[in-house]
Each structure stands twice: as C-alpha cells, then as structure tokens.
Symmetry: C2
Subunit: 196 residues, 2 copies
C-alpha cells in the first residue's frame, strides 16, 4: 500500500562488506531494484548491457552530464562512471525501492540533489577488524592495504552525516538491519496510502 518506492544510497569504505550485505539482501527482499550505473569503460567478458552497466561512449556520457541526466558521476582511471536518474525515477514511480551502491564520495552528493534519498553507511565494527579483513584478502601489497585503511579512516569520519549506520559485524545482523531500514521507510506515514 506504499504510494511510491524509496531511494536508498548505500555506501561504506572498502572492506566494510557492502557488496556482501547487498548480495544477501537481494536474496531475501522483494520489490527492490538495484540501480545500474553507466560507464565509458569497455565491457569485460561476461558483462551484460543493462545488467552490469550501461555501456556508453564518451560523447554520450558527456551529453548525460551536460543534460543533467546523472544523479552523480566520477572519473576513475580515465573512465567515467555515473548513475542515470531516469531509470531510478521510473522504478520509484512503480512503487519499487531503489538501491544505489556507491562510493563514499558520491553518496552525500546525491543527498544534496535528492533530499528524499535515504543514506546508509555500512561500517566495519572497528578499525582493527577492517585492517584484518583487508590484510586477509591477501591480494594487495602492504602498501595498498595501508592506503586503503587511511582512506577508510577518512571516510568513516563523516559517518554521522548519513541517515543510518549499519555495523557489519555479523553479516546476518547487518543484512537484517538494512532490511529493517528499508521496511521501516515504507511504513513512514507519508509513504502509506490508506484512507478511511
């Protein structure tokens, strides 16, 4: 009986586990839509148009920027990445909740553009846990791990600017907390369409 869906911006530092939390959420939660980003980078083997990304040319991406078609965008290693606003609005109108998974820098930009967005910061339970998670990946040099930790520390400094903080200590608890945030938003009185 929800009037329209809610827009959730989910972010968190590298190693906080936002990818795992969202993958589990997707399994248990109905009626949610994960926003698909646009990018100018080449598709990797197995990646599908409209599923993993919308693959667009640099000209088209710059047109999207100038026509204000993007909720946010960033450049990374010579390629553009961004969130087209139109599909998001279409899903919201259909009553679906929309989730944007986004880097920390972009998340608060969206809040400025869309004050209706509900921002969620996925946090590690402590800096020590985060450090051990990043080290245990075993894929990165000590130097890269140290750099990621420094970045995570900076990102966590602005945690309190988000609407919600979900601590990813146990994955199950984090998924259930994020699910509760989404369910509760649907129960906000302005979102409930009920007349007597």
């Amino acid at each position: 009986m929800s009037k329209k869906g809610n827009l959730f911006v989910v972010t968190g530092p590298s190693g906080a586990g936002k990818g795992s939390v969202l993958a589990e959420l997707f399994k248990i939660k109905e009626n949610i839509f994960f926003s698909v980003s646009a990018t100018t980078r080449q598709p990797r083997p197995g990646e599908k148009e409209g599923i993993n990304y919308f693959f667009v040319s640099k000209d088209r991406f710059e047109e999207m920027i100038s026509c204000n078609e993007l909720l946010e965008h960033a450049e990374y290693v010579g390629n553009y990445y961004g969130t087209p606003e139109n599909p998001v609005n279409e899903m919201l109108k259909l009553g679906k909740d929309v989730i944007l998974e986004i880097e920390v820098q972009g998340a608060l930009q969206i809040k400025k553009k869309r004050p209706d967005a509900i921002t969620v910061f996925i946090a590690p339970p402590s800096f020590e846990v985060l450090a051990s998670r990043l080290r245990n990946r075993g894929t990165e040099s000590d130097e890269v791990v140290a750099m990621r930790l420094e970045q995570a520390k900076n990102e966590c400094r602005y945690m309190s600017d988000y609407d919600y903080i979900v601590i990813n200590d146990s994955l199950e608890k984090a998924v259930s907390d994020l699910s509760a945030v989404i369910t509760a938003a649907g129960c906000r009185s302005e979102n409930v369409d009920l007349r007597f």
Copy 2:
C-alpha cells in the same frame, strides 16, 4: 552499540489489534521494555503492582500531575490513568527501547512533550475489516459497535500526524513491520556509538 534506547508510542483505534501486535512483538524482540501505567483504580484479581499497573491513591496521582511526573494522563470512568516519566527515562538510559501503548488521544500529547518519541499508528487495513472485527467480538451491542466505529473513523483521520503507520492486515506482517521500525531507529546515525 546503541547510545541510548528509543521511546516508541504505539497507538491505534479499538479493533486495529495493537494489543495482539505488541504481545507478539514482545515474544520476538529483545531489549525492549513495556512502560507500566499508574492508575487510581482498584487492582482486579490477579493484577500485580508494577506489572499490570502502579496502583496509587488519588492524592498521590494528583501530586504526580502537579509535579509534572507524568508523560500523559487521562480520566476514565472516574479513575485516573497515566504514564510516569521516570521509569521510562531510566530504561532509555540503560539502552533499552521503551514502548508505550496508549490511547489515540494521549499519543500526540506525548509527542509534544517528548519530540524524541517515535509515534506509531496501528491501522486496520480498511474500515470494512475493522467493522467486521468489532462485530465478530460478539460481546458488544450494535449500538456500542457503531459508536466504536465512529470513534475509530475520527481517530484514523489523524493517522498522517504519526511518524509511522503499521497496517495490521496480517498479524505476522504487522509485527515484522513494527519490529523493523524499532530496529531501524536503533540504526539512525545519531543513535550509533562508533568511533574510529
């Protein structure tokens, strides 16, 4: 890791089923405290001091009113009923979520006194369902049922003044929605105590 508990005011018209929803919630939710009202009426057989009510004299109740010790109070069939504020604050300080089940008239009064309170309106899915629930109780005359329906209609008119509306169509869904509202409140960034 919640700093302190949240105060929830749960209300709804007669027949919406707030009693059943709260009874089920109590079974599944940890760390919540149901506020106990004070009253000047005589204990009924089996009722226990501090569990069902705080039983107090009329003089003591009037003292509580004049000393501003109550979050709200009302007179009903010659007896006073009210919510002592002190035990509520003690539980909140201990990090417990506190639930006040209250009649519709009192709920928005509390919001004025305590803007930190989160108000939840338990609504029937439709007026027709409410009417059939009240009739099926079979304990009240058609006249009383008609009066309760009229009152419910009036009460539902102010639904949108509450923070959340939980529709009690399926009991299980209503309990899970209310539980989500409580969990989500604990994840609000101002309620999360996490430092890096």
